[in-house]
Symmetry: C2
Subunit: 279 residues, 2 copies
Protein backbone atom coordinates (compact mmCIF):
# COMPACT_ATOMS: atom_id res chain seq x y z
CA UNK A 1 0.00 0.00 0.00
CA UNK A 2 1.29 3.38 -1.04
CA UNK A 3 0.04 6.87 -0.19
CA UNK A 4 1.09 10.28 -1.53
CA UNK A 5 0.72 13.51 0.38
CA UNK A 6 1.57 17.00 -0.94
CA UNK A 7 3.74 19.55 0.87
CA UNK A 8 1.98 22.42 2.58
CA UNK A 9 3.49 25.87 2.93
CA UNK A 10 1.72 28.34 5.16
CA UNK A 11 1.42 32.00 4.15
CA UNK A 12 -0.09 33.29 7.40
CA UNK A 13 -1.75 31.74 10.42
CA UNK A 14 -3.04 32.10 13.96
CA UNK A 15 -2.85 29.24 16.45
CA UNK A 16 -5.51 27.86 18.73
CA UNK A 17 -4.63 25.68 21.69
CA UNK A 18 -7.04 23.39 23.46
CA UNK A 19 -6.69 20.43 25.83
CA UNK A 20 -8.36 18.30 23.19
CA UNK A 21 -5.91 17.96 20.25
CA UNK A 22 -8.85 17.74 17.83
CA UNK A 23 -9.96 21.19 18.95
CA UNK A 24 -6.41 22.50 18.64
CA UNK A 25 -5.32 23.78 15.28
CA UNK A 26 -4.74 26.92 13.32
CA UNK A 27 -6.56 29.31 11.06
CA UNK A 28 -4.94 30.88 8.05
CA UNK A 29 -4.10 30.17 4.45
CA UNK A 30 -1.50 28.03 2.71
CA UNK A 31 -0.62 26.26 -0.47
CA UNK A 32 -0.08 22.56 -1.16
CA UNK A 33 2.75 21.75 -3.54
CA UNK A 34 3.47 18.79 -5.78
CA UNK A 35 6.61 17.96 -3.74
CA UNK A 36 5.21 14.84 -2.14
CA UNK A 37 5.80 12.48 0.73
CA UNK A 38 5.37 8.92 -0.52
CA UNK A 39 4.74 6.33 2.15
CA UNK A 40 4.69 2.56 1.72
CA UNK A 41 3.80 -0.10 4.27
CA UNK A 42 5.06 -3.68 4.29
CA UNK A 43 4.68 -6.47 6.84
CA UNK A 44 7.85 -6.87 8.93
CA UNK A 45 9.35 -8.79 11.85
CA UNK A 46 9.31 -5.69 14.00
CA UNK A 47 7.97 -2.19 13.42
CA UNK A 48 10.52 0.12 11.82
CA UNK A 49 10.24 3.56 10.27
CA UNK A 50 12.51 4.65 7.44
CA UNK A 51 12.78 8.23 6.26
CA UNK A 52 14.52 8.66 2.91
CA UNK A 53 15.95 5.12 3.23
CA UNK A 54 17.43 5.70 6.69
CA UNK A 55 16.05 4.31 9.91
CA UNK A 56 14.41 7.18 11.79
CA UNK A 57 12.79 7.99 15.11
CA UNK A 58 10.10 10.02 13.32
CA UNK A 59 8.03 10.36 16.50
CA UNK A 60 5.04 11.88 14.72
CA UNK A 61 4.78 9.03 12.23
CA UNK A 62 5.53 6.53 15.00
CA UNK A 63 2.56 7.79 17.00
CA UNK A 64 0.34 7.09 14.00
CA UNK A 65 1.88 3.68 13.42
CA UNK A 66 1.41 2.71 17.06
CA UNK A 67 -2.23 3.76 16.91
CA UNK A 68 -3.16 2.12 13.64
CA UNK A 69 -0.97 -0.90 12.92
CA UNK A 70 -2.36 -4.30 13.84
CA UNK A 71 0.91 -6.18 13.38
CA UNK A 72 4.58 -5.15 12.88
CA UNK A 73 5.22 -3.12 9.72
CA UNK A 74 8.05 -1.49 7.85
CA UNK A 75 7.00 2.08 7.12
CA UNK A 76 9.06 3.78 4.45
CA UNK A 77 8.59 7.48 3.62
CA UNK A 78 10.39 9.21 0.78
CA UNK A 79 10.31 12.98 0.92
CA UNK A 80 10.45 15.04 -2.28
CA UNK A 81 10.29 18.13 -0.04
CA UNK A 82 12.99 19.64 2.20
CA UNK A 83 12.78 18.52 5.81
CA UNK A 84 12.24 21.06 8.60
CA UNK A 85 11.85 24.09 6.36
CA UNK A 86 8.11 24.74 6.52
CA UNK A 87 6.93 22.23 3.90
CA UNK A 88 4.91 20.19 6.39
CA UNK A 89 7.11 17.12 6.02
CA UNK A 90 6.22 15.69 9.43
CA UNK A 91 2.51 16.04 8.76
CA UNK A 92 2.89 14.56 5.29
CA UNK A 93 4.73 11.51 6.63
CA UNK A 94 2.17 11.03 9.39
CA UNK A 95 -0.77 11.48 7.03
CA UNK A 96 0.69 9.11 4.44
CA UNK A 97 1.27 6.55 7.21
CA UNK A 98 -2.34 6.91 8.37
CA UNK A 99 -3.72 6.45 4.84
CA UNK A 100 -1.59 3.45 4.02
CA UNK A 101 -2.14 1.74 7.39
CA UNK A 102 -5.88 2.31 7.03
CA UNK A 103 -5.76 0.60 3.64
CA UNK A 104 -3.31 -2.17 4.62
CA UNK A 105 -5.24 -3.27 7.67
CA UNK A 106 -8.65 -2.48 6.13
CA UNK A 107 -9.50 -0.32 9.12
CA UNK A 108 -12.41 1.33 7.31
CA UNK A 109 -11.60 4.90 8.28
CA UNK A 110 -12.71 7.83 6.17
CA UNK A 111 -10.16 10.36 4.90
CA UNK A 112 -11.00 12.70 7.79
CA UNK A 113 -10.79 9.92 10.38
CA UNK A 114 -7.38 8.76 9.15
CA UNK A 115 -6.16 12.36 8.93
CA UNK A 116 -7.39 13.05 12.47
CA UNK A 117 -4.84 10.56 13.85
CA UNK A 118 -2.04 12.38 11.99
CA UNK A 119 -3.32 15.75 13.21
CA UNK A 120 -3.39 14.57 16.82
CA UNK A 121 0.19 13.32 16.49
CA UNK A 122 1.31 16.71 15.14
CA UNK A 123 -0.39 18.60 17.96
CA UNK A 124 1.01 16.33 20.67
CA UNK A 125 4.56 16.60 19.32
CA UNK A 126 4.22 20.33 18.62
CA UNK A 127 5.34 19.93 15.00
CA UNK A 128 2.35 21.51 13.30
CA UNK A 129 -1.20 22.71 13.75
CA UNK A 130 -2.71 23.19 10.33
CA UNK A 131 -0.63 21.22 7.84
CA UNK A 132 -2.52 17.93 8.03
CA UNK A 133 -6.02 19.34 7.50
CA UNK A 134 -4.72 21.32 4.50
CA UNK A 135 -2.73 18.40 3.08
CA UNK A 136 -5.84 16.27 3.34
CA UNK A 137 -7.79 18.50 0.94
CA UNK A 138 -5.11 20.07 -1.29
CA UNK A 139 -4.92 23.32 -3.25
CA UNK A 140 -4.76 26.88 -1.95
CA UNK A 141 -6.43 26.07 1.34
CA UNK A 142 -8.18 28.51 3.69
CA UNK A 143 -8.56 27.27 7.26
CA UNK A 144 -11.39 29.42 8.57
CA UNK A 145 -12.03 27.50 11.79
CA UNK A 146 -9.28 25.82 13.80
CA UNK A 147 -9.41 22.11 14.58
CA UNK A 148 -8.54 18.68 13.31
CA UNK A 149 -9.91 17.13 10.10
CA UNK A 150 -13.71 16.91 10.34
CA UNK A 151 -13.83 19.58 13.04
CA UNK A 152 -11.85 22.48 11.60
CA UNK A 153 -13.36 24.24 8.58
CA UNK A 154 -11.51 24.34 5.27
CA UNK A 155 -12.24 25.80 1.88
CA UNK A 156 -10.15 26.44 -1.23
CA UNK A 157 -9.35 29.41 -3.41
CA UNK A 158 -9.57 27.91 -6.90
CA UNK A 159 -6.22 28.31 -8.68
CA UNK A 160 -4.60 26.68 -11.71
CA UNK A 161 -1.59 24.38 -11.06
CA UNK A 162 0.80 27.34 -11.27
CA UNK A 163 4.56 27.04 -11.05
CA UNK A 164 6.12 27.92 -7.71
CA UNK A 165 9.82 28.72 -7.19
CA UNK A 166 11.46 28.42 -3.80
CA UNK A 167 14.77 28.76 -1.98
CA UNK A 168 15.60 27.23 1.39
CA UNK A 169 18.36 28.33 3.74
CA UNK A 170 17.48 26.24 6.72
CA UNK A 171 15.00 25.35 9.40
CA UNK A 172 13.20 27.42 11.97
CA UNK A 173 12.00 25.26 14.84
CA UNK A 174 8.22 25.17 14.58
CA UNK A 175 8.12 23.87 18.13
CA UNK A 176 10.15 26.79 19.48
CA UNK A 177 8.06 29.45 17.78
CA UNK A 178 4.75 27.80 18.63
CA UNK A 179 5.67 27.52 22.31
CA UNK A 180 6.88 31.11 22.82
CA UNK A 181 3.88 33.09 24.16
CA UNK A 182 5.34 36.48 23.22
CA UNK A 183 5.99 35.54 19.61
CA UNK A 184 2.63 33.80 19.40
CA UNK A 185 0.72 36.85 20.60
CA UNK A 186 1.89 38.89 17.64
CA UNK A 187 1.38 36.00 15.24
CA UNK A 188 -2.17 35.39 16.41
CA UNK A 189 -3.15 39.03 16.14
CA UNK A 190 -1.69 39.42 12.64
CA UNK A 191 -2.95 36.00 11.53
CA UNK A 192 -6.53 36.77 12.46
CA UNK A 193 -6.43 40.18 10.79
CA UNK A 194 -4.98 38.65 7.62
CA UNK A 195 -7.65 35.95 7.45
CA UNK A 196 -10.43 38.46 8.00
CA UNK A 197 -9.09 40.57 5.16
CA UNK A 198 -8.58 37.58 2.85
CA UNK A 199 -12.14 36.37 3.38
CA UNK A 200 -13.55 39.63 2.03
CA UNK A 201 -12.45 38.63 -1.45
CA UNK A 202 -10.26 35.54 -1.53
CA UNK A 203 -7.85 35.51 -4.48
CA UNK A 204 -4.32 34.23 -5.03
CA UNK A 205 -3.06 37.79 -5.31
CA UNK A 206 -4.48 38.72 -1.93
CA UNK A 207 -3.06 35.54 -0.42
CA UNK A 208 0.40 36.60 -1.64
CA UNK A 209 -0.05 40.20 -0.47
CA UNK A 210 -1.31 39.23 3.00
CA UNK A 211 1.34 36.55 3.45
CA UNK A 212 4.01 39.10 2.60
CA UNK A 213 2.57 41.58 5.08
CA UNK A 214 2.31 38.90 7.77
CA UNK A 215 5.97 37.92 7.33
CA UNK A 216 7.05 41.55 7.65
CA UNK A 217 4.84 42.52 10.57
CA UNK A 218 5.52 39.41 12.67
CA UNK A 219 9.25 39.84 12.03
CA UNK A 220 9.53 36.10 11.46
CA UNK A 221 11.48 36.63 8.24
CA UNK A 222 15.27 36.63 8.50
CA UNK A 223 17.25 39.33 6.72
CA UNK A 224 18.16 36.74 4.12
CA UNK A 225 14.47 35.92 3.54
CA UNK A 226 13.44 39.58 3.43
CA UNK A 227 16.15 40.32 0.87
CA UNK A 228 15.05 37.38 -1.27
CA UNK A 229 11.42 38.51 -1.17
CA UNK A 230 12.42 42.05 -2.13
CA UNK A 231 14.56 40.77 -4.98
CA UNK A 232 11.55 38.96 -6.45
CA UNK A 233 9.39 42.05 -6.00
CA UNK A 234 11.97 44.22 -7.73
CA UNK A 235 11.72 41.87 -10.71
CA UNK A 236 7.94 42.44 -10.76
CA UNK A 237 6.99 39.18 -9.04
CA UNK A 238 5.26 38.04 -5.88
CA UNK A 239 6.99 36.25 -3.02
CA UNK A 240 6.72 35.59 0.68
CA UNK A 241 8.21 33.55 3.47
CA UNK A 242 7.46 29.86 3.91
CA UNK A 243 6.13 29.45 7.46
CA UNK A 244 7.83 28.18 9.50
CA UNK A 245 11.17 27.90 7.77
CA UNK A 246 14.01 30.12 6.71
CA UNK A 247 12.70 29.75 3.19
CA UNK A 248 11.00 31.83 0.51
CA UNK A 249 8.48 30.96 -2.20
CA UNK A 250 7.49 32.95 -5.26
CA UNK A 251 4.89 32.65 -8.00
CA UNK A 252 6.78 31.00 -10.82
CA UNK A 253 8.29 33.06 -13.63
CA UNK A 254 11.73 33.22 -15.19
CA UNK A 255 12.17 36.63 -13.55
CA UNK A 256 11.39 35.35 -10.05
CA UNK A 257 13.64 32.35 -10.59
CA UNK A 258 16.43 34.67 -11.75
CA UNK A 259 15.90 36.94 -8.73
CA UNK A 260 16.03 34.04 -6.27
CA UNK A 261 19.21 32.54 -7.76
CA UNK A 262 21.59 34.65 -5.70
CA UNK A 263 19.95 33.41 -2.50
CA UNK A 264 20.46 29.69 -3.06
CA UNK A 265 19.55 26.76 -5.25
CA UNK A 266 16.14 27.53 -6.74
CA UNK A 267 13.63 24.68 -6.60
CA UNK A 268 10.64 24.61 -8.92
CA UNK A 269 7.39 22.76 -8.42
CA UNK A 270 3.70 23.47 -8.96
CA UNK A 271 0.55 23.85 -6.89
CA UNK A 272 -0.98 20.48 -6.04
CA UNK A 273 -4.71 20.44 -6.76
CA UNK A 274 -5.31 17.22 -4.87
CA UNK A 275 -4.85 16.24 -1.28
CA UNK A 276 -3.57 13.04 0.29
CA UNK A 277 -4.45 9.90 -1.63
CA UNK A 278 -3.68 6.25 -2.13
CA UNK A 279 -1.64 5.57 -5.27
Amino acid sequence: MRASVPSHITGFFSAKRHDDPMKSGSMGCGLTLDLKAITTIEPAEETEIFLNYERSDAPVSRFVVNKLSRSPVRVQTELEMPLGAGFGASGAGALGSAYSLNASFELGMTANQAAAVAHIAEVIYGTGLGDVIAQNIGGLVIRSKAGGPGIGKVDRIPVPPLWINYVVRGPISTKEVLSDPKIMKGINCEGKASLKELLKKPTLKDFMRLSRRFATRTELASNWASDAIEAVESSGGFASMILLGDAVFALGSSDSSQALKEFGAVGTTFISQRGANLD
Copy 2:
Protein backbone atom coordinates in the same frame (compact mmCIF):
# COMPACT_ATOMS: atom_id res chain seq x y z
CA MET B 1 -10.14 30.69 -18.34
CA ARG B 2 -10.68 26.96 -18.27
CA ALA B 3 -12.12 24.70 -15.57
CA SER B 4 -12.33 20.91 -15.35
CA VAL B 5 -14.93 19.04 -13.32
CA PRO B 6 -15.12 15.25 -12.88
CA SER B 7 -18.23 13.14 -13.43
CA HIS B 8 -20.06 11.94 -10.36
CA ILE B 9 -21.96 8.65 -10.24
CA THR B 10 -24.14 8.01 -7.20
CA GLY B 11 -24.28 4.56 -5.63
CA PHE B 12 -27.08 5.27 -3.15
CA PHE B 13 -28.74 8.37 -1.73
CA SER B 14 -31.58 9.92 0.21
CA ALA B 15 -32.97 13.34 -0.67
CA LYS B 16 -33.71 16.29 1.54
CA ARG B 17 -35.96 19.10 0.40
CA HIS B 18 -36.04 22.55 1.93
CA ASP B 19 -37.34 25.93 0.82
CA ASP B 20 -33.78 27.19 0.95
CA PRO B 21 -31.86 25.50 -1.91
CA MET B 22 -28.67 25.61 0.18
CA LYS B 23 -30.37 23.47 2.80
CA SER B 24 -31.66 21.12 0.11
CA GLY B 25 -29.41 18.29 -0.96
CA SER B 26 -28.84 14.61 -0.54
CA MET B 27 -26.97 12.20 1.66
CA GLY B 28 -25.30 9.12 0.30
CA CYS B 29 -22.15 7.97 -1.40
CA GLY B 30 -20.79 8.27 -4.93
CA LEU B 31 -17.69 8.20 -7.02
CA THR B 32 -16.11 10.90 -9.16
CA LEU B 33 -14.66 9.74 -12.46
CA ASP B 34 -11.98 11.13 -14.73
CA LEU B 35 -14.56 11.71 -17.50
CA LYS B 36 -14.57 15.48 -17.23
CA ALA B 37 -16.59 18.50 -18.22
CA ILE B 38 -14.22 21.17 -19.53
CA THR B 39 -15.59 24.69 -19.54
CA THR B 40 -14.02 27.75 -21.14
CA ILE B 41 -15.16 31.36 -20.96
CA GLU B 42 -14.48 34.05 -23.58
CA PRO B 43 -15.75 37.60 -23.92
CA ALA B 44 -18.52 37.83 -26.54
CA GLU B 45 -21.01 40.22 -28.13
CA GLU B 46 -23.90 38.47 -26.41
CA THR B 47 -24.04 35.66 -23.88
CA GLU B 48 -24.17 32.23 -25.50
CA ILE B 49 -23.77 28.74 -24.12
CA PHE B 50 -22.33 25.91 -26.20
CA LEU B 51 -22.49 22.27 -25.18
CA ASN B 52 -20.21 19.98 -27.17
CA TYR B 53 -19.87 22.70 -29.84
CA GLU B 54 -23.60 23.19 -30.28
CA ARG B 55 -25.59 26.13 -29.02
CA SER B 56 -27.63 24.95 -26.04
CA ASP B 57 -30.31 26.14 -23.68
CA ALA B 58 -28.46 24.50 -20.75
CA PRO B 59 -30.73 26.16 -18.16
CA VAL B 60 -28.62 25.05 -15.20
CA SER B 61 -25.43 26.54 -16.61
CA ARG B 62 -27.36 29.58 -17.80
CA PHE B 63 -28.57 30.25 -14.26
CA VAL B 64 -24.94 30.30 -13.12
CA VAL B 65 -23.87 32.52 -16.01
CA ASN B 66 -26.67 35.00 -15.33
CA LYS B 67 -25.67 35.14 -11.67
CA LEU B 68 -21.92 35.50 -12.12
CA SER B 69 -21.07 37.12 -15.46
CA ARG B 70 -20.38 40.83 -15.45
CA SER B 71 -20.44 41.24 -19.24
CA PRO B 72 -21.51 39.01 -22.18
CA VAL B 73 -19.55 35.77 -22.49
CA ARG B 74 -19.32 32.71 -24.69
CA VAL B 75 -19.44 29.68 -22.39
CA GLN B 76 -18.27 26.48 -24.02
CA THR B 77 -18.52 23.13 -22.25
CA GLU B 78 -17.13 19.90 -23.66
CA LEU B 79 -18.38 16.75 -22.00
CA GLU B 80 -16.24 13.62 -21.86
CA MET B 81 -19.13 11.94 -20.03
CA PRO B 82 -22.49 10.75 -21.40
CA LEU B 83 -25.30 13.26 -21.01
CA GLY B 84 -28.39 12.43 -18.96
CA ALA B 85 -27.21 9.03 -17.78
CA GLY B 86 -26.32 9.69 -14.15
CA PHE B 87 -22.82 11.11 -14.61
CA GLY B 88 -23.75 14.51 -13.19
CA ALA B 89 -23.18 16.31 -16.48
CA SER B 90 -25.47 19.22 -15.66
CA GLY B 91 -23.77 19.78 -12.31
CA ALA B 92 -20.35 19.51 -13.91
CA GLY B 93 -21.19 22.10 -16.57
CA ALA B 94 -22.66 24.45 -13.97
CA LEU B 95 -19.73 23.99 -11.59
CA GLY B 96 -17.17 24.51 -14.36
CA SER B 97 -19.02 27.66 -15.41
CA ALA B 98 -18.98 28.96 -11.84
CA TYR B 99 -15.24 28.31 -11.43
CA SER B 100 -14.28 29.88 -14.74
CA LEU B 101 -16.57 32.91 -14.34
CA ASN B 102 -15.20 33.44 -10.82
CA ALA B 103 -11.68 33.47 -12.25
CA SER B 104 -12.49 35.48 -15.41
CA PHE B 105 -14.24 38.28 -13.59
CA GLU B 106 -11.99 38.05 -10.50
CA LEU B 107 -15.05 37.68 -8.29
CA GLY B 108 -12.99 36.44 -5.36
CA MET B 109 -15.24 33.52 -4.42
CA THR B 110 -13.90 30.48 -2.62
CA ALA B 111 -14.41 26.99 -4.10
CA ASN B 112 -17.43 26.44 -1.84
CA GLN B 113 -18.93 29.83 -2.69
CA ALA B 114 -18.61 29.25 -6.43
CA ALA B 115 -19.93 25.69 -6.08
CA ALA B 116 -22.89 26.96 -4.04
CA VAL B 117 -24.18 28.86 -7.09
CA ALA B 118 -24.02 25.68 -9.19
CA HIS B 119 -25.73 23.68 -6.43
CA ILE B 120 -28.56 26.22 -6.18
CA ALA B 121 -29.06 26.03 -9.96
CA GLU B 122 -29.28 22.22 -9.82
CA VAL B 123 -31.82 22.30 -6.99
CA ILE B 124 -33.99 24.93 -8.68
CA TYR B 125 -34.04 23.04 -11.98
CA GLY B 126 -34.46 19.67 -10.28
CA THR B 127 -31.48 18.17 -12.10
CA GLY B 128 -29.47 17.04 -9.09
CA LEU B 129 -29.07 17.30 -5.34
CA GLY B 130 -25.67 15.93 -4.43
CA ASP B 131 -23.52 15.95 -7.57
CA VAL B 132 -22.05 19.43 -7.19
CA ILE B 133 -20.87 19.09 -3.60
CA ALA B 134 -19.23 15.75 -4.48
CA GLN B 135 -17.70 17.04 -7.73
CA ASN B 136 -16.25 19.95 -5.79
CA ILE B 137 -14.17 17.63 -3.57
CA GLY B 138 -13.56 14.54 -5.73
CA GLY B 139 -12.88 10.88 -4.92
CA LEU B 140 -15.19 8.34 -3.34
CA VAL B 141 -17.34 10.91 -1.58
CA ILE B 142 -19.61 10.34 1.42
CA ARG B 143 -22.28 12.99 1.90
CA SER B 144 -23.18 12.58 5.56
CA LYS B 145 -25.26 15.76 5.94
CA ALA B 146 -27.43 17.16 3.16
CA GLY B 147 -26.94 20.70 1.89
CA GLY B 148 -25.03 22.83 -0.54
CA PRO B 149 -21.22 23.26 -0.56
CA GLY B 150 -20.13 24.75 2.77
CA ILE B 151 -23.33 23.60 4.52
CA GLY B 152 -23.58 19.90 3.66
CA LYS B 153 -20.93 17.61 5.17
CA VAL B 154 -18.63 15.59 2.96
CA ASP B 155 -15.82 13.17 3.59
CA ARG B 156 -13.93 10.69 1.41
CA ILE B 157 -13.18 7.00 1.52
CA PRO B 158 -9.52 6.91 0.45
CA VAL B 159 -9.16 4.80 -2.69
CA PRO B 160 -6.49 4.43 -5.38
CA PRO B 161 -7.34 5.73 -8.89
CA LEU B 162 -8.86 2.36 -9.84
CA TRP B 163 -10.19 1.54 -13.28
CA ILE B 164 -13.96 1.69 -13.70
CA ASN B 165 -15.90 0.08 -16.56
CA TYR B 166 -19.38 1.24 -17.52
CA VAL B 167 -22.18 0.67 -20.00
CA VAL B 168 -24.98 3.12 -20.74
CA ARG B 169 -28.32 2.29 -22.34
CA GLY B 170 -30.06 5.57 -21.86
CA PRO B 171 -31.33 8.22 -19.52
CA ILE B 172 -33.68 8.08 -16.59
CA SER B 173 -35.18 11.48 -15.90
CA THR B 174 -33.69 12.63 -12.60
CA LYS B 175 -36.41 15.23 -12.39
CA GLU B 176 -39.20 12.66 -12.75
CA VAL B 177 -37.81 10.33 -10.09
CA LEU B 178 -36.97 13.12 -7.65
CA SER B 179 -40.48 14.61 -7.93
CA ASP B 180 -42.44 11.36 -7.44
CA PRO B 181 -43.26 11.18 -3.69
CA LYS B 182 -43.99 7.43 -3.79
CA ILE B 183 -40.67 6.52 -5.39
CA MET B 184 -38.83 8.97 -3.16
CA LYS B 185 -40.23 7.45 0.02
CA GLY B 186 -38.61 4.10 -0.72
CA ILE B 187 -35.39 5.75 -1.89
CA ASN B 188 -35.08 7.86 1.24
CA CYS B 189 -35.65 4.93 3.56
CA GLU B 190 -33.14 2.69 1.78
CA GLY B 191 -30.67 5.54 1.28
CA LYS B 192 -30.56 6.39 4.97
CA ALA B 193 -30.16 2.74 5.97
CA SER B 194 -27.34 2.29 3.46
CA LEU B 195 -25.47 5.36 4.71
CA LYS B 196 -25.82 4.29 8.32
CA GLU B 197 -24.40 0.88 7.47
CA LEU B 198 -21.56 2.35 5.37
CA LEU B 199 -20.49 4.72 8.13
CA LYS B 200 -19.83 1.80 10.48
CA LYS B 201 -16.78 0.88 8.45
CA PRO B 202 -16.46 2.81 5.22
CA THR B 203 -14.62 0.86 2.52
CA LEU B 204 -14.88 0.65 -1.28
CA LYS B 205 -16.17 -2.93 -0.99
CA ASP B 206 -19.00 -1.87 1.29
CA PHE B 207 -19.81 1.03 -1.01
CA MET B 208 -20.21 -1.46 -3.88
CA ARG B 209 -22.23 -3.91 -1.79
CA LEU B 210 -24.61 -1.27 -0.41
CA SER B 211 -25.04 0.40 -3.80
CA ARG B 212 -25.95 -2.95 -5.30
CA ARG B 213 -28.47 -3.61 -2.52
CA PHE B 214 -29.94 -0.11 -2.91
CA ALA B 215 -30.46 -0.59 -6.66
CA THR B 216 -32.23 -3.91 -6.07
CA ARG B 217 -34.40 -2.83 -3.16
CA THR B 218 -35.53 0.48 -4.66
CA GLU B 219 -36.32 -1.30 -7.93
CA LEU B 220 -34.73 1.58 -9.83
CA ALA B 221 -32.67 -0.82 -11.94
CA SER B 222 -34.15 -1.88 -15.28
CA ASN B 223 -34.06 -5.55 -16.26
CA TRP B 224 -31.22 -4.69 -18.62
CA ALA B 225 -29.24 -3.09 -15.77
CA SER B 226 -29.96 -5.95 -13.36
CA ASP B 227 -28.80 -8.47 -15.96
CA ALA B 228 -25.60 -6.51 -16.57
CA ILE B 229 -24.85 -6.30 -12.84
CA GLU B 230 -25.44 -10.04 -12.47
CA ALA B 231 -23.19 -10.80 -15.42
CA VAL B 232 -20.34 -8.92 -13.75
CA GLU B 233 -20.99 -10.70 -10.47
CA SER B 234 -20.97 -14.07 -12.20
CA SER B 235 -17.50 -13.22 -13.50
CA GLY B 236 -16.39 -12.56 -9.91
CA GLY B 237 -16.59 -8.76 -10.07
CA PHE B 238 -18.49 -5.94 -8.41
CA ALA B 239 -21.04 -3.78 -10.17
CA SER B 240 -24.03 -1.58 -9.51
CA MET B 241 -26.37 0.85 -11.17
CA ILE B 242 -25.38 4.41 -11.94
CA LEU B 243 -27.97 6.66 -10.27
CA LEU B 244 -29.95 8.04 -11.92
CA GLY B 245 -29.42 6.54 -15.35
CA ASP B 246 -30.11 3.33 -17.17
CA ALA B 247 -26.44 2.60 -16.79
CA VAL B 248 -24.12 0.23 -14.92
CA PHE B 249 -20.61 0.64 -13.52
CA ALA B 250 -18.17 -2.02 -12.38
CA LEU B 251 -14.79 -2.10 -10.69
CA GLY B 252 -12.38 -2.43 -13.59
CA SER B 253 -11.00 -5.82 -14.61
CA SER B 254 -10.80 -7.65 -17.91
CA ASP B 255 -13.48 -10.03 -16.59
CA SER B 256 -15.94 -7.25 -15.75
CA SER B 257 -15.27 -5.60 -19.10
CA GLN B 258 -15.88 -8.93 -20.86
CA ALA B 259 -19.09 -9.48 -18.88
CA LEU B 260 -20.43 -6.01 -19.73
CA LYS B 261 -19.70 -6.32 -23.46
CA GLU B 262 -22.94 -8.02 -24.35
CA PHE B 263 -24.88 -5.12 -22.80
CA GLY B 264 -23.39 -2.34 -24.89
CA ALA B 265 -20.23 -0.45 -25.70
CA VAL B 266 -18.02 -0.66 -22.61
CA GLY B 267 -16.44 2.61 -21.52
CA THR B 268 -13.35 2.62 -19.32
CA THR B 269 -12.15 5.43 -17.08
CA PHE B 270 -10.67 5.73 -13.61
CA ILE B 271 -11.59 7.23 -10.25
CA SER B 272 -10.80 10.95 -10.12
CA GLN B 273 -8.93 11.85 -6.94
CA ARG B 274 -9.40 15.57 -7.38
CA GLY B 275 -12.45 17.75 -7.52
CA ALA B 276 -13.29 20.75 -9.70
CA ASN B 277 -10.30 22.91 -10.57
CA LEU B 278 -8.98 25.60 -12.86
CA ASP B 279 -6.64 24.25 -15.55
